[in-house]
């Protein structure tokens, strides 16, 4: 069982126009840089994207936006992206805003065979519109649907050839959930290690959720807000 593939260009060939893709990452942290770039290069159109954010103007999912490859995005926050603003105002892109916790849970649910669940997030707000409201023990909850995507793009730190993945620090974020939600999950990682190297007690995404693994090189890992303190001092 060897899920390791060599070419990003080759791997995205299976993704047709109109596909839906769950894309890991939070802001620009833990995003599948190489898979996004390969998809930009391939020019695949009419994509439905499930992702917490939509990158920035010149990086991450923002690159797909710029090329007008995205038809619809389901996200919790798209405020960092001016390209998005223009396309939204022009009606070129459809957006479904969903609370961050609801998005995370919808991805997990879809990947877990749970078609729908109830959450209080958004009850009594504009996003409740059109959703079933149900009261449990005196509180209103919204019915939210699980997400199953045709593909998932995830970015790991290390993987083995079975497709076991570990993430690094907060670059974990939505990645394990996207891996669950994808019918075909493609993982890019910084390092592919020998089978048996990853501690079985510390694997974040077990192999069963992953179909393809690729090693990326020269990761940019851009930082959106560089906040620091001076040595020994305060922020």
């Amino acid at each position: 069982m060897d899920k390791v593939k060599q070419s990003f260009e080759e791997i995205v060939k299976q993704i047709p126009d109109g596909a839906s893709i769950a894309v890991g990452g939070f802001g620009l942290s833990g995003i599948p840089e190489k898979l996004i770039l390969a998809l930009v290069k391939q020019g695949t159109k009419d994509l439905t994207i499930y992702s917490n954010n939509c990158g920035v103007d010149d990086w991450g999912l923002g690159l797909l936006l710029k090329e007008k490859q995205i038809k619809k995005i389901v996200a919790s926050y798209v405020g960092e992206n001016k390209t998005f603003e223009q396309q939204f105002l022009n009606g070129e892109i459809e957006v479904e805003l969903t609370p961050q916790g609801t998005l995370a849970e919808r991805l997990r649910a879809g990947g877990s065979g749970i078609p729908a669940f109830y959450t209080a997030a958004g009850a009594g707000t504009p996003i409740a519109e059109g959703k079933e409201v149900r009261n449990f023990d005196g509180t209103d909850y919204l019915l939210e649907q699980g997400i199953i995507a045709d593909f998932a793009f995830v970015k790991g730190y290390q993987a083995d050839r079975y497709g076991n993945i570990v993430y690094r620090h907060t670059a974990q974020n939505f990645n394990p959930l996207c891996a669950m939600a994808g019918k075909v999950t493609i993982a890019e990682v910084e390092e592919i290690v020998e089978l048996g190297t990853l501690a079985p007690d510390a694997i974040h995404t077990p192999a069963v959720f992953v179909q393809h693994v690729l090693k990326g090189t020269d990761y940019e890992k851009r930082i959106e807000k560089r906040t620091v303190r001076s040595k020994g001092g305060e922020a």
Partner: protein
């Protein structure tokens, strides 16, 4: 003191040793820096972390270690990382003792609006809608009036809601209010402000609980 500083200094008094706390983006983040030495709390970040430390020393920033505001941070001793679903299990499941969030408008019923201004670009609610329904205690901190001098403490919010009847306490640069089964109650005046001034600058109806000891929060 500047308005924001007054608010942050008052907000920090809400923090108790041993709490699990989520601080919203913007002004609430400043509460972390204002915590007194020795207060042992765990700061949670929606993207998937418990135990946020201070900003990194220059040159040690790590793109794989950011908070919900996408700022580079560090991990405190005893920190943990997890996926975003687990993060919101903590939040929605009532395991976060305290959320301190910014506000655009607050209503006398304890409604919060802080995510959207109609006609302006939609940015999204991020984790705010989950936090307001899930945290054990939701404290909103914001300036009492907007830059046009209009009250942000409303009878009814005019902006789209983040959550309905979700706020435990409101801290502004003028006063502190609790939201109780009997309505909104003024419990403190800040920084030398008077009841008259607060009354004048508050569109919402509130009871005066200044001499009644601490109001009992609804939540």
């Amino acid at each position: 003191m500047a308005a924001r500083e007054v608010i942050v200094q008052r907000a920090v008094k809400e923090v108790q040793d041993g709490m699990n706390i989520n601080l919203g983006i913007g002004m609430p983040t400043l509460v972390a820096d204002a915590l007194p030495e020795g207060v042992d709390v765990l700061l949670q970040s929606e993207n998937g972390m418990l135990g946020i430390g201070p900003y990194p020393v220059e040159g040690t920033e790590d793109a794989d270690l950011i908070n919900a505001g996408k700022e580079t941070i560090t991990a405190a001793k005893g920190a943990s990382y997890f996926d975003s679903a687990t993060s919101f299990s903590m939040i929605r499941g009532g395991h976060i003792d305290l959320a301190i969030l910014g506000g655009m408008e607050v209503s006398e019923r304890g409604d919060l609006a802080n995510w959207m201004i109609p006609g302006k670009m939609v940015k999204g609610m991020g984790g705010a809608m989950d936090l307001v329904v899930g945290a054990k205690r939701v404290i909103v901190i914001m300036e009492h009036v907007n830059k046009h001098g209009e009250s942000k403490v409303k009878k009814t919010c005019t902006l789209p809601l983040t959550g309905q009847q979700v706020i435990s306490r409101l801290i502004t640069d003028l006063a502190v209010f609790d939201f109780t089964p009997e309505g909104m109650v003024l419990i403190e005046l800040l920084d030398g402000h008077t009841l008259e001034e607060v009354t004048e600058k508050t569109e919402a109806s509130f009871q005066n609980g200044l001499n009644k000891g601490e109001a009992k929060s609804r939540f």
